[in-house]
Symmetry: C2
Subunit: 656 residues, 2 copies
């Protein structure tokens, strides 16, 4: 198709967003584009709905439907569950009114349709006597009415997906998935329906492959898949390979329409696309942006907007642990930025306040917040205690200056002293009744983190539309190395699914790739992390995190092995870690005892960190697997799991 179409549709996109065209100007623009459009073109509505905001979603859809009508494309396709706004949690269970309203709004939208078909995801009531209350459905609207409804067949119920909690699976027959667009016969499926190819996967979750069934029995001209599929590390590779494989195998083009935008913890990257009957990618919409994207399924030379690094790079890479995080950093950046922006927008907040310690976590958080919300909407507060070094204070200040975010410094020394004195009093009372007083420094150390959080929440209470930010990272959350009501407390936690080694890489990447280069002072990236809450008695300097935990390089590989390979302590004892390889190149060896000690420490600390995971604020899922509550839940009481296999003999001995 003509490249000008894309220029013009980009104008539409921008103008829809800014709503500054008069009706007359719209009509003129539409006529300009229409001349360039081939017959049989359809529009992909790659847009960002808000959970539960049925009215808002419907109104937004209508803007796009009007354009589709003006352009007289054959159809406009919206993502899965668009009307109600994915993700839904459980609200349709407790508030059926939202479902009633999504149907009423669907009817209203239908009245606005003409010849152009509107294909749009919604939630439908299941009126039969058996089964779940709802169907996950797609409506086809045209000529003023609802012409047909097609239902999702395969209902994912793992990780972040909970479809089977609410929806009844439905596959009446292959014909029920057929609709006509122009003079073409289309097979329509919903998201997971396209993810069960028996030749592509070694193991399948479901017994039916709806795509295969539809193709074999109905011979459609092409398949449309309406999706809401989230971005994760290395997932694009799988998705691309699978869709391409299926198109080629079935000699049938596939139009894949994906949601864009972030819903609390889940991020959708868009990148809607077309594969031709040879499995070749012929069209691809933008990533991480709303787009009104025009396609012609039979055209082999459509527009392919590039994927950002991390999506693109994974196309060629195998699943393996690597400390080379570089290939995934652009995707990571875009995912977090979109998450912050949408979380704030969808909850009605616009400003963020965070503590700036001069350390890596708060530094990277500040950069991401500035990029997502605008520097003027970010306030960094340096809150030194007596342990805080002057380097840290300077780094924090310098960072704020570089980013042009708002900044102030305020000592917490007096808060610490007052609380400390209070503790001394109250502890001596408690000590009269209870034994087992630790007199460890961490009780006092935590005063610092909690005093800081008190100030941040105070600012958020006092100033409109402001959220405090929790800066904890993934590596430290696994170790429980985060203070309850302290650094892990906040309205949003942008880094909770980013490991420490990746954070270092991200910091360097930000310095190199943002328009403003080197915003992060090099000293922040070069210093070894530490919470600066306590002094290490051995060194007389602030305790470093790796002294309290273990080398981050080793820690992050354990996390990766747990999440991606489901390995036990025994498996990891036998495996060679990158950390060990690196030691070798320096002529050193990691002793078996040290390795065992770290592995045991990891699982021991993880078991006691489960509580902290449960009370973490919302945070974006970024990695291939996470400990985000919306994906993974482990009961706090499961702290007695033994992560080390024992033999039958050992078991029998236990019983004696």
């Amino acid at each position: 198709m003509d490249a000008n179409i894309y220029k013009l549709t980009e104008i539409i996109d921008n103008d829809i967003k800014n709503k500054n065209l008069s009706e007359k100007e719209k009509l003129k623009l539409a006529n300009d584009i229409k001349k360039l459009l081939p017959q049989k073109s359809i529009a992909v509505a790659q847009i960002n709905p808000t959970s539960g905001d049925v009215k808002g979603n419907a109104k937004k859809a209508l803007e796009w439907i009007k354009w589709a009508n003006l352009l007289e494309v054959d159809a406009i396709v919206f993502p899965e569950m668009y009307m109600i706004g994915y993700p839904i949690g459980d609200f349709i269970d407790r508030f059926p009114i939202v479902v009633e309203e999504n149907i009423e709004w669907l009817k209203v939208l239908a009245t606005k349709t003409k010849k152009t078909k509107v294909i749009i995801g919604f939630v439908e009531f299941n009126k039969s006597k058996t089964g779940k209350k709802y169907f996950n459905s797609v409506a086809i609207l045209a000529n003023g009415k609802i012409e047909k409804i097609i239902r999702k067949t395969l209902l994912p119920n793992y990780a972040e997906f909970n479809d089977y909690r609410h929806f009844e699976p439905d596959f009446v027959n292959s014909e029920s998935h057929i609709l006509n667009i122009g003079n073409k016969k289309i097979g329509l499926v919903v998201c997971e329906d396209g993810w069960n190819d028996f030749d592509f996967f070694d193991k399948n979750l479901y017994k039916l492959d709806p795509v295969q069934k539809i193709v074999e029995e109905q011979h459609p001209d092409y398949i449309i898949n309406c999706s809401a599929s989230i971005t994760r590390a290395k997932k694009e590779q799988l998705k691309h390979n699978m869709l391409s494989f299926a198109a080629k195998k079935h000699k049938t083009p596939i139009v894949y329409v994906n949601q864009v935008g972030s819903g609390e913890c889940l991020s959708f990257e868009g990148a809607s696309r077309v594969y031709d009957e040879n499995g070749e990618l012929t069209y691809m919409a933008k990533s991480y942006e709303e787009q009104f994207f025009i396609i012609n399924v039979n055209d082999k030379e459509g527009k392919i907007y590039p994927l950002p690094n991390g999506l693109e790079k994974t196309l060629k890479e195998q699943k393996a642990f690597s400390l080379d995080h570089e290939p995934d950093l652009e995707r990571t950046y875009l995912t977090i930025i979109q998450s912050i922006r949408d979380y704030f927008a969808k909850t009605g907040f616009k400003r963020a306040v965070l503590g700036l310690s001069g350390g890596l976590d708060s530094t990277v958080s500040a950069v991401l917040l500035a990029d997502a919300l605008g520097a003027e909407n970010v306030f960094g507060i340096s809150m030194p205690s007596k342990i805080t070094s002057s380097e840290s204070k300077n780094d924090a200040k310098q960072l704020a200056q570089n980013l042009s975010i708002n900044f102030t410094e305020i000592s917490i020394k007096d808060m610490y002293d007052t609380t400390r004195e209070k503790f001394d009093n109250v502890f001596s009372s408690v000590e009269n009744k209870w034994d087992c007083r630790y007199k460890e420094s961490f009780t006092n150390d935590n005063i610092q983190a909690r005093s800081r959080a008190m100030i941040l929440w105070g600012i958020a209470n006092e100033f409109g539309s402001c959220l405090p930010i929790a800066t904890s990272d993934k590596s430290e959350l696994y170790m429980g190395y985060a203070t309850i009501n302290g650094d892990m407390s906040g309205g949003f936690a942008p880094l909770a699914d980013v490991s420490k080694t990746k954070l270092f890489a991200l910091a360097k990447w930000l310095n190199k790739n943002r328009i403003q280069k080197d915003a992060i002072p090099v000293s922040i990236i070069e210093k070894r992390p530490g919470a600066e809450l306590a002094i290490n008695p051995k060194t007389g300097k602030p305790l470093l995190a790796e002294e309290a935990l273990m080398p981050y390089e080793f820690l992050d590989e354990i996390i990766w092995r747990v999440e991606n390979l489901q390995q036990t302590i025994c498996d990891m004892e036998d495996a060679e870690f990158l950390y060990e390889k690196h030691l070798k190149t320096q002529g050193k060896v990691l002793s078996k005892e040290q390795k065992q000690e770290w592995l045991t420490k990891f699982f021991r600390r993880m078991s006691t960190a489960l509580y902290k995971w449960m009370i973490m604020p919302p945070s974006p899922i970024v990695d291939a697997r996470s400990i985000n509550k919306s994906e993974y839940k482990q009961p706090i009481i499961s702290s007695k799991i033994n992560y080390k296999k024992t033999s039958i003999e050992e078991k029998l001995a236990e019983l004696e």
Copy 2:
């Protein structure tokens, strides 16, 4: 059967718990009982497993299996998933080692079996090429080996249940559910398999009723149902009616074996039982206690241990809102006590510290903690600020004395003053950059709640095995009337599913029904609730909660209508509330405007409280429906849901 059997089995129960019998004494006891036992008796192992503690669960099972062997009963039946310990969250997904180990331990247990069959729930790998990774299965062990495996057919996936996340449903045929015990033919099903009777329910979740299929095709002598089914308000009524109905309809006795004990948020009440072929209840084990309970399915006059009030009373009651909470208070009490006790025991904690404000929430919490953990393990801290009245201070002190819990008083005035000064400084810096400063009192009010939490967490950090307690109640959590990092922060929240009107009733009930009468000072029960964080400018006295919110009587009925009837604002406008009826009896009327204002306020406040629900600590589910995270999740970003229906005309007008 002879009543002495039950006396003797109670001795077994107690001695197993205390482990103080020699082998010789055990043998003698067993022989005494054996003489009294009829042929064809079986034992129900109503016990309390720990999630993921496969070794601990296996060792505990073995003690009971040994008794069953000694007594030569025909079989001993354990609950669903006993080996792995329900609930599991998602840990079997990330840590398959736990499943491997539960199978290895099952093999070890099998080596200890003799003629007596052991029927025990476990998790099985699904080795086929399609489907979920696991089955929810029951093993039949005997004569040293695993004789048979029977799989769960219906997989609940609503509210607190997530079976379908991990398990593949399986129903090969009705014969696969048959086993022999003595000369009897038994049909075995797992929990939900027994909850899909087409004649009992108006609407069914699944298309198959396994019990019906098994009975019709196999004609078993009786059905065994291995369950892990939680207690909720009014659920016993449904369960009893359904099991009785099915036994009568199929003319087949049903043996229902339920787990006891609490797993984090879920509480199992035990009360395992037998219904005869006429649907009559013939046996019932204890509630809220482990029990080795001997039954003879053909005996019509078995032992029926009484249900506590709340379980028993609901047998006769219909589902309706009532401010008469009395019938459910004993069950509520036992559920929370068991939850606290098990949460502490299973996580390795033993002591609790809480703030005592002299208000209702902290008062009832203190009583429940003292009963669950022992008074010596509870520390109440009175932390008055300048707003705290001397009555409140006295009430707190009096309560602690009455309960014999540990107590101290410490003023937070200096912490407040120091933080307040800090706030003044930092706010004036922020104000230079940001507009929209509220200068509302609640910013300062929150300092009090947060300073108190700082002290409680400090004590928990400093003293071994100690958890701080969050005292928020259900009514206030719905309203977001709880301070982040303040009163809603803690290691456990015993009252988070108890509404305020029920709390008042519970306080009175405790004064009447505990061994120690009137432990709660009457003044605490009689005063109207208020957080004592702020002064009401209109009255010059501390702001009352009902002034800030709405009458609790009205509020609690909205909550009940939302949770149990899924009502909208419009439905509630049309309904007559108990509060309105009560006003009427006083010759007063609730104005339409006032009612609308409260309804609107409820949903507005609820929408902004969603974040607080997400970061709440673990708490027991008590009510028929809850906002406990393990049951109900609503995205924080769904704050734009409109809980009021609009007409098509209004919708069309929106689009103009």
